[in-house]
Every structure is written in structure tokens, then in C-alpha cells.
């Protein structure tokens, strides 16, 4: 049995492109966990999407065995954390399973907003942080500046920061030794009742739901009867082991160790990320602290293009939910789109990723409605309702006032771009909070901005106005009263619920005009002239027309050749597969996202 004192659990905190995955690869390689030949590049980002986008979405875990300078063998568990603002909660779960973290900062770039947020979170979890300045081999590296930045912006002593190059392997051994020496061993009583934290899970079609766990106290053995403390689900352990990085069944996990547990767990809802596993016979008195429910920040409707795919979509969402505690969904009906689901996401990237996975991995064609935040609607009768679907906003006469979520947005940019950031933030209804120089050249600006405005192109606009230099992080701050109205779109005189949005009153007319104009571009000509109207309440604020399709050409066709006529019609129909018929109007999928595409 591994002594606690020889176990080290850590994660890596880094901004996108600062070299986290490459460093993880080097650690795996250096410790001989996998030979160079066995390694695919960047083993840990194993989803296609992750590789394509260069981001980590799922937490991944690997056990490394390392012989330290003292001659002892150390069991190191690396928990790779997601690196995007949407996945803050996943990061928090992973950090809760660790005693330390490597803070990896690019020697040519410096600290980014994202990195800051994660470091603060690690500090909240009392993790020991080892600063690593990466890419020091590059000619433009400026480790001293970065060292100062770490000290100034985070208040962390960076005098013993390790200079490394994940690319060349420089500093890798030093990092491993620092992990041994500086990160504390896990504590926890081997003989106490079992408490294991679920920090991730995935679905395996042979073994069922597999939970990633960190054993905080007690131990897990094959054959034991375990119990989920939140859901009450009891199961027998069929597989228990560690990741190398493929799961290896070793029959046991002891106090302080990180690995996986599987038992006949078929239902994703039984394995809640953040839940505590204990034993059925001698349960722990209470679950582990720190678990907070997941609150989606962004909602949208997902509908199958072909309504007979409803059950398949449900199945896909359930399977995805298995790997993704942050995804929530419930059935929803739209007059325009039929039966579908209202889904909650952590943010726009999360939403994008889920959509793309449904289409790729489950081969389903779906229609997505424009994302929206959760509004608090205070009614005249004193009730408060949460509205995440604009179509469900109560009539104006029943509304006393509406509050919308604001975020505290932190933007870090080179000082030349401060003006641009402020201009965009102002335009997005932001309230200026603070501005601090991280060093002579880099500035951290904080704004309170409605989340709704962030969802609309805020970051895209920031990036283009700052030539890609801006980095953004945000966290929910509070709810504030705003003058909000529902903007409806009428096609052919009928309101299309799936096209409704909630907008600020002062923007309604502009948004309405822009949206109507955009829809005119998107909706193809049909048999009728289609009036597109934007309305607030009963007041029409904008109007456009999609001209009628030109008439058929009367084709000369030898009468007997019916198959030619049929082929023509089939081809015509094929071209419309991605469209949804709403009343008599065929609407292409992009129309429902048009609100995001207006300038």
C-alpha cells in the first residue's frame, strides 16, 4: 500500500496556448508512464474537438510514478483542468481533488485574465502553487518581467519560479522534484469511513458510468458496496483503479489516491459530479464540503430538424450529460419548432461544444435558438419567476420590473488598447469599476456588464479591437434591475416564438431593425412575399419583405418521362432539409441565431 506521504495530487493552471498540454506530455514521458512511441501528441486532450480547438474541455487524469531525489517512489496524480471561462466549475471540482498546482505562464506573454481567475480559485482551495515560467527558450522570452507580473498581480512569491521549456524538456525534472518537495502529501485517515469526491465522470458502453474520484479518507476495494451520498444510489464496485492514462483496474484505491470507480451504474443521474461516495455499511457522517450546484448561465432551445429525432436527441443529451455535470436540459415546446429541449450551459463555448458533439457524435441535425440568460421577472402580484426563454416572458401588464444578471468582467490588454476596451464596454452597457497596471505595459480593466451583452459578440469585438491581445474572464456578480422588453418577430403576420429575444428598451428599435434586415438576408424567397416584422408588445418597430420566389419555368418535358420530373422535385426537396417549416414559411437554421450575427 502506498503511504500517504508518497502521494502528490496536482493540477496545472495555464492560459490557452501557454503550453499546458505539452508540459503534461513531457511529465508523462519523463516518468516513463508512456514511452515516446506510445504517445500521441498531447495525450490528454483526447476529444477531436479539443484537439481541433486547442482547448481542454474535459478534466483528464493520469498517474505518474516518479523516483524522487530521496530514492523513494512517488505516486503523482495529474488532474488536467479545462482552460476556458465556461468551465470554471469543472476547474473547481478538479482543484478540490488536489493539494497543489503548477501555475504555467508563457515567458513571452505574461499573466492572462483567465489564469488569474483560476489561480485565485486554487488559493481558495489552499493549494500550494508552484510557478513555472514556460517557453524560456524563445528569443522573445522575458522571464524577469513575467516573474514580476506574477508577484504584482497575484501576490505570489515567484523568486523560486521554475524556468522551463515544455518543448525542449528543460526544467521538467526540476518541476517533478518541486512537486515532491513543495506540494503537501494528502491527509486523511485510512480507517475512517470512506469519503471519495467525484470530480468527473464519463460513460463507457461496457462498464457503465465511470466516476473519477479522489479518496479523501477511507479506501475502496473491488466488491465493496458503496453509496452515493446525495442520490442515495447503492452499487457494488466492479472496477477500481487508476489512469495511466488509460484506466487500469488495480482493485483498490486508498486514502489520498486518485482514480476511478465503476459498478453497475447505468443512469447518469446517479453519479453527480461533486457528490461524495461512501460505504453502504459504514457511511461517513456527512458529505465532503465545497460541492455547489451547477448554475447554467446561458440557455438555448435545441430542436431536432426532423421531429422524429426527438427521442434520439434526448438520448444524446443524456449521454453527454454523463460526462458533463454542467449541462442541464428539460423538455420544451415551441409553437414554431415543435418538441425540443431548453438546455442550460456554462457559457457560449460550452453551448457550441455540446451542439457540435450532438451533430458529430450522434449524427443528429438540430436547430438551436439564440442563447439567452436567466432573467428574474418580478410580477405585479409580488411573485418572482425565472425566465430563460423569451417566449415565456409574462405579458408586459403583469410585470413590475425585470432584473438581469451582471458579471464582473476582467479584461487584460496592452495599455495601447485601453481606449478601445472602454469604448466597447461602455457601448455594452458596462459600468466601469477599476483599472490597474500589471506592469508598465499591461492593464487590467474591470467592468460590470450585463451577461446578455457578453453573450452577444462582446469578446469577439474586444479581440478584433485589440488585435487579439485582450484576454477576458468573468464571473457572475449580481442581478440588477434593467429596462428590458421582449422583441418579437412576426413572419407573415404570425409571431414566431423561437425568434423572440429580450433586449434593453433603448436598443429595441435598433435591434429590431437589424434583426429584421438580417432575417431578410437569411430567409429564402418562397411562394409568397413574406413580411418580416419586429414588434415590442403590439407596436411594430421594423418591417422588411422577402420578395416572392420567381415563378416556375414551364419546362418542356417529354410527358412520359416521369422519373425526370420526380428527380427534379427530389433535388428541390433535398435543398430544404435544413429548413424548418413554420406555418407556411420555410426557415433555415441560421435564422434562429440571426440575433447573434447582427453588426
Amino acid at each position: 500500500m502506498m503511504q500517504n506521504k508518497n502521494i502528490r495530487n496536482f493540477s496545472i493552471i495555464a492560459h490557452i496556448d501557454h503550453g499546458k498540454s505539452t508540459l503534461a506530455d513531457r511529465l508523462i514521458e519523463y516518468t516513463g508512464t508512456l514511452s515516446k512511441r506510445q504517445m500521441e501528441d498531447q495525450v490528454l486532450d483526447n476529444m477531436d474537438l479539443e484537439r481541433e480547438r486547442g482547448i481542454t474541455i474535459k478534466a483528464q487524469t493520469v498517474r505518474l510514478d516518479y523516483k524522487g531525489k530521496d530514492g523513494e517512489v512517488y505516486e503523482m496524480n495529474l488532474i488536467d483542468t479545462p482552460g476556458h471561462v465556461d468551465f470554471t466549475y469543472e476547474v473547481s471540482r478538479s482543484l478540490a481533488a488536489c493539494e497543489g498546482a503548477l501555475l504555467v505562464v508563457d515567458a513571452t506573454q505574461g499573466v492572462e485574465a483567465q489564469t488569474l481567475a483560476n489561480v485565485y480559485m486554487a488559493l481558495e482551495h489552499d493549494l500550494e502553487i508552484i510557478p513555472v515560467i514556460n517557453k524560456v527558450d524563445l528569443p522573445s522570452a522575458d522571464p524577469d518581467r513575467v516573474r514580476h507580473e506574477i508577484e504584482d498581480s497575484i501576490g505570489l512569491d515567484a523568486s523560486d519560479a521554475i524556468l522551463a521549456s515544455a518543448k525542449t524538456g528543460l526544467g521538467v525534472e526540476e518541476i517533478l522534484d518541486a512537486i515532491v518537495e513543495r506540494i503537501p502529501e494528502p491527509d486523511g485517515e485510512e480507517n475512517a469511513p470512506l469519503q471519495a469526491l467525484i470530480f468527473d465522470s464519463y460513460f463507457d458502453s461496457y462498464k457503465g458510468v465511470i466516476a473519477h474520484v479522489r479518496v479523501m479518507q477511507g479506501h475502496i476495494r473491488k466488491g465493496m458496496k458503496l453509496k452515493m451520498m446525495a442520490t442515495g444510489k447503492v452499487f457494488e464496485v466492479t472496477d477500481v483503479g487508476c489512469f495511466k492514462p488509460q484506466p487500469v483496474d488495480i482493485g483498490r484505491l486508498d486514502t489520498g489516491e486518485v482514480g476511478f470507480v465503476a459498478g453497475a451504474l447505468k443512469d447518469v443521474r446517479d453519479v453527480r459530479v461533486g457528490d461524495t461516495i461512501t460505504t453502504a455499511e459504514r457511511p461517513a457522517e456527512k458529505p465532503l464540503p465545497g460541492y455547489r450546484g451547477v448554475n447554467p448561465m446561458v440557455y438555448c432551445g435545441l430542436y431536432p430538424v426532423d421531429s422524429s429525432d426527438y427521442d434520439n436527441l434526448k438520448d444524446a443529451l443524456e449521454k453527454l450529460q454523463l460526462n458533463d455535470a454542467a449541462l442541464v436540459f428539460e423538455p420544451e415546446t415551441s409553437v414554431a419548432l415543435g418538441f425540443g429541449f431548453r438546455c442550460g450551459f456554462l457559457g457560449l463555448l460550452h453551448m457550441d461544444v455540446i451542439q457540435e458533439r450532438i451533430e458529430r457524435e450522434y449524427s443528429l441535425k438540430i436547430i438551436t435558438t439564440a442563447p439567452t440568460v436567466v432573467y428574474h421577472v418580478f410580477k405585479t402580484n409580488g411573485d418572482m419567476v425565472e425566465v430563460s426563454n423569451p417566449a415565456e416572458l409574462p405579458p408586459q401588464t403583469e410585470i413590475n420590473h425585470i432584473e438581469e444578471p451582471y458579471v464582473r468582467a476582467t479584461v487584460i490588454v496592452p495599455s495601447d488598447y485601453v481606449g478601445a476596451v472602454m469604448e466597447i464596454s461602455q457601448e455594452k452597457r458596462g459600468e466601469f469599476k477599476s483599472m490597474d497596471y500589471l506592469d508598465t505595459n499591461r492593464v487590467m480593466i474591470t467592468y460590470h456588464i450585463p451577461l446578455n451583452e457578453i453573450i452577444f459578440d462582446y469578446f469577439d469585438r474586444l479581440k478584433s479591437a485589440t488585435r487579439g491581445y485582450a484576454s477576458l474572464d468573468y464571473e457572475l456578480a449580481d442581478y440588477k434591475e434593467s429596462k428590458l422588453v421582449k422583441l418579437d418577430i412576426l413572419l407573415n403576420g404570425d409571431p414566431v416564438d423561437a425568434l423572440s429575444t429580450i433586449v434593453h428598451k433603448d436598443r429595441a428599435v435598433t435591434r429590431g431593425r437589424q434583426l429584421a434586415a438580417k432575417l431578410k438576408e437569411i430567409i429564402p424567397q418562397q411562394m409568397f412575399e413574406i413580411p418580416i416584422q419586429a414588434a415590442v408588445g403590439s407596436k411594430i418597430i421594423a418591417r422588411e419583405n422577402v420578395r416572392a420566389h420567381r415563378k416556375d419555368v414551364l419546362a418542356k418535358c417529354y410527358g412520359g418521362d416521369i422519373s425526370r420530373k420526380r428527380k427534379l422535385l427530389e433535388k428541390q426537396k433535398e435543398g430544404k432539409k435544413r429548413m424548418k417549416a413554420v406555418g407556411s414559411v420555410e426557415i433555415p437554421q441560421e435564422a434562429f441565431m440571426a440575433i447573434l450575427k447582427i453588426e
Binding site: 416556375d552 414551364l554 427534379l568 422535385l569
Partner: protein, 380 residues
């Protein structure tokens, strides 16, 4: 006994028109004699049993290509042979190119029993006739049609095209009016379509085909669909207009689920609910007939769903539309059970009208025939 029709295809032309992608060839006149023999043989093989079981063909139609590109004797023996085998039909049409029509041929056709002629005129503008590669002038067309009347034909049709390169609305109006001044009982109108594999297609790709813009083309369509009925020609089918009683029964048969036998290269048949297509190349067709090999092959799988779709979208081409009781008789269920969800919104939107047990395109719906027909296709 049930109604059936016979179609005979003549795949020869003096010159191929620049827009044409039909099964027709210029410069293969050496095949004509063997071809007519093969067609006669094919009629005997396949039409004899139909006549035995179902009686004489209701209609016979010789189309092309250019039937009058055949030497007079060959054409007449073919007509005679068709009547001998399939029986004397109520309507017997021969397509005529004004450039290959002579009075003697027309007179003898009439004597054999042909009672309807269909002239491919396309336009009465000589400039446009040259642009599209026709072999005749407007004056020759007028002369040929008057000749038909003199030869004893009282049922004469002509084809007009719109949307031709360089054509404007006035050109079209003047062609329509010249057509109406002639002794014709039936007019078919067609929009030019640039088909792959034609000289026009290449010119189009090279940007050398000056087609009228969509608005002008639409104006032409509107003019014809309004003017022809005003002048006594009822629009009994999407592309076809006739004086009362002069509707083409053969043409209507295609849309009304009437079985037909097609003989000759590339001709299509619809028999026992199955659609087949003959070998396309005339030499190949001749060889197959001579060798006793099958001349046709199956076009598509026939299923009940496909049959219902075709029944519906073909019938919708006609002014009388889908006969609901015929649908029920044929398929054993009401049309609403299959297409209720398609029909109701189209009726609501004024694209279809439903009355007296028939479902038909409205005047408005006729403009968008294809978009409406498409909704009846479910099997894709």
C-alpha cells in the same frame, strides 16, 4: 378493358436545336429504315397483347425528334402499322417541324387516320428562330399551319417558347398574336431551360447567353397565362391551353394515371403500375429489337408510397386536379389519410382549392407548381 395509350419516338432531326437535350440526333439518317422496322416490330411485340386485353389504344402520339424528318413512305408505313396493331385511336397526333412539312405528307397522314398535328414553332420572330437554331422561318411556320388546315386537319397545336436569349416582352406578345391569328386549337408554352450537355449550356457557362432577366421572364409568363384564356384557350394543364373540346387526350393521360406503352429509342412506358425506359441510342435499340433482347429496363422501384406521390403531383398539373374518389379506389384509403397535413395548409394559403371531390392548383398556385408538388414527395 381499360384505357391505354401508345407513344412512338422518332429520334431524328435535320438539325439539333441549340437548347435541346432530348433523345434526338442529326446526321444518322442511314438508320431510319432499320429504325422504323424495329419500331414496327416492337409495336407488334408489345402492343398486340394490350389490344387483345384492353381494346384499341385510346390515343397514339408520334413525337420526336422530328417525325417528319423521316421520308414520307417510312412515316406513312409506320402510321399504318401502328393503327393495324394498336387499333384506330380516338386521337392520333403527329409532331411536325414546319421546316420538314410538305402538303402531300400532311394530306396522306390525314387519310391514314391521323387527326391531330402538333407544330414545333417556338417563335414567330426570325431573329430568335436563328438564335435558338431552328431550321424554319416564321413564314414557313404560318404556311405549314395553313397547309394543315387545307389538308383536312381541324385540330392543330403549336408550341411557343418564352425566356429565349434576346427575347423581350414585345417579341413574345407578337408571337402569341400571330399564333392566335392562325387556325390552331391548342397551344403549348415552354420556358427555355438551359440543360447540361447542350450548346446553350456551354454558352451559358461562358457568359455568352443573354437570357432575359427574371422579371421579364415572369412578365412573359403572366402575359401568356392571361392572354390565352382571354382569347378562348383554356389552361387545362400547366403548360397547355386549348379551345374547349380540343384538349390533348394523350397529354392528359400522362397526368391521369393512364397506362401507356412507349416504343422507340428512349421512350418511356407505364404499364401495370411499373415505369420503364427504352434503350436510348437508336442503333442500340435497333440491335436489341433485332436480337430479340429486352428493349426496356426498369426506371425506379415502384412502391405504394411512390405511386401515391406520383398520382398526386401528376394530377395536380391538370386543371381538374386530383380526383379524390379515384385516389381512394386506387389506394384503398382517403387522400387525407396520406396527405391531409400537406393539403390543409396549401388550401388555407390559397395555393390549392378543394371542391367537388377534386383538389387542384389555384391560379396563384399554378405559378409555383414545383414548390407545391415537392410537398407531396415523402419518400426522400
Amino acid at each position: 378493358m381499360s384505357r391505354w395509350e401508345l407513344y412512338i419516338h422518332i429520334p431524328f432531326c435535320r438539325q439539333k436545336c441549340l437548347y435541346c437535350d432530348f433523345a434526338s440526333w442529326a446526321g444518322r439518317d442511314d438508320l431510319m429504315s432499320a429504325y422504323v422496322n424495329a419500331v414496327k416490330h416492337d409495336i407488334e411485340t408489345r402492343a398486340a397483347s394490350l389490344r387483345r386485353e384492353d381494346g384499341p389504344a385510346a390515343t397514339i402520339y408520334i413525337g420526336g425528334g422530328t417525325p417528319t424528318a423521316l421520308p414520307r413512305d417510312l412515316l406513312l408505313t409506320l402510321v399504318q402499322s401502328a393503327i393495324d396493331t394498336a387499333g384506330m385511336p380516338g386521337e392520333f397526333t403527329v409532331e411536325v417541324n414546319p421546316g420538314t412539312a410538305d402538303e402531300e405528307t400532311l394530306r396522306q397522314l390525314r387519310q391514314c387516320g391521323v387527326n391531330r398535328l402538333s407544330f414545333g414553332v417556338q417563335s414567330f420572330n426570325n431573329r430568335l428562330l436563328r438564335v435558338i437554331g431552328r431550321i424554319h422561318t416564321a413564314e414557313e411556320a404560318e404556311k405549314a399551319i395553313r397547309m394543315a388546315e387545307k389538308s383536312g386537319f381541324s385540330n392543330v397545336s403549336l408550341d411557343l417558347m418564352y425566356g429565349l436569349p434576346g427575347q423581350n416582352l414585345d417579341d413574345l406578345k407578337s408571337s402569341v398574336n400571330r399564333a392566335l391569328s392562325l387556325p390552331v386549337t391548342h397551344i403549348s408554352i415552354y420556358g427555355l431551360q438551359v440543360e447540361e450537355g447542350t450548346p446553350f449550356y456551354r454558352m451559358y457557362e461562358e457568359g455568352k447567353l443573354a437570357l432575359p432577366d427574371d422579371d421579364v421572364t415572369e412578365a412573359m409568363y403572366d402575359y401568356m397565362t392571361e392572354e390565352l384564356p382571354r382569347r378562348g384557350f383554356r389552361r387545362y394543364e400547366i403548360s397547355n391551353f386549348a379551345r374547349p373540346g380540343f384538349e390533348s387526350r394523350h397529354n392528359l393521360g400522362y397526368w391521369q394515371d393512364v397506362p401507356y406503352l412507349g416504343v422507340g429509342a428512349a421512350a418511356h412506358s407505364y404499364l401495370d403500375g411499373k415505369r420503364t425506359e427504352n434503350r436510348r441510342d437508336p442503333a442500340d435499340y435497333i440491335r436489341a429489337v433485332e436480337a430479340g433482347e429486352p428493349v426496356c429496363f426498369s426506371e425506379e422501384e415502384s412502391s405504394r408510397d411512390i405511386a401515391m406521390e406520383e398520382f398526386a403531383f401528376l394530377a395536380l398539373r391538370t386543371a381538374s386536379g386530383i380526383d379524390e374518389s379515384r385516389f381512394t379506389t386506387k389506394f384503398g384509403c382517403s387522400i387525407d389519410a396520406v396527405y391531409g397535413d400537406v393539403i390543409a395548409p396549401l388550401v388555407r394559403d390559397g395555393l390549392l382549392r378543394r371542391e367537388n371531390g377534386h383538389i387542384a392548383l389555384t391560379r396563384y398556385g399554378a405559378k409555383y407548381g414545383n414548390l407545391i408538388f415537392e410537398k407531396f414527395i415523402r419518400s426522400v
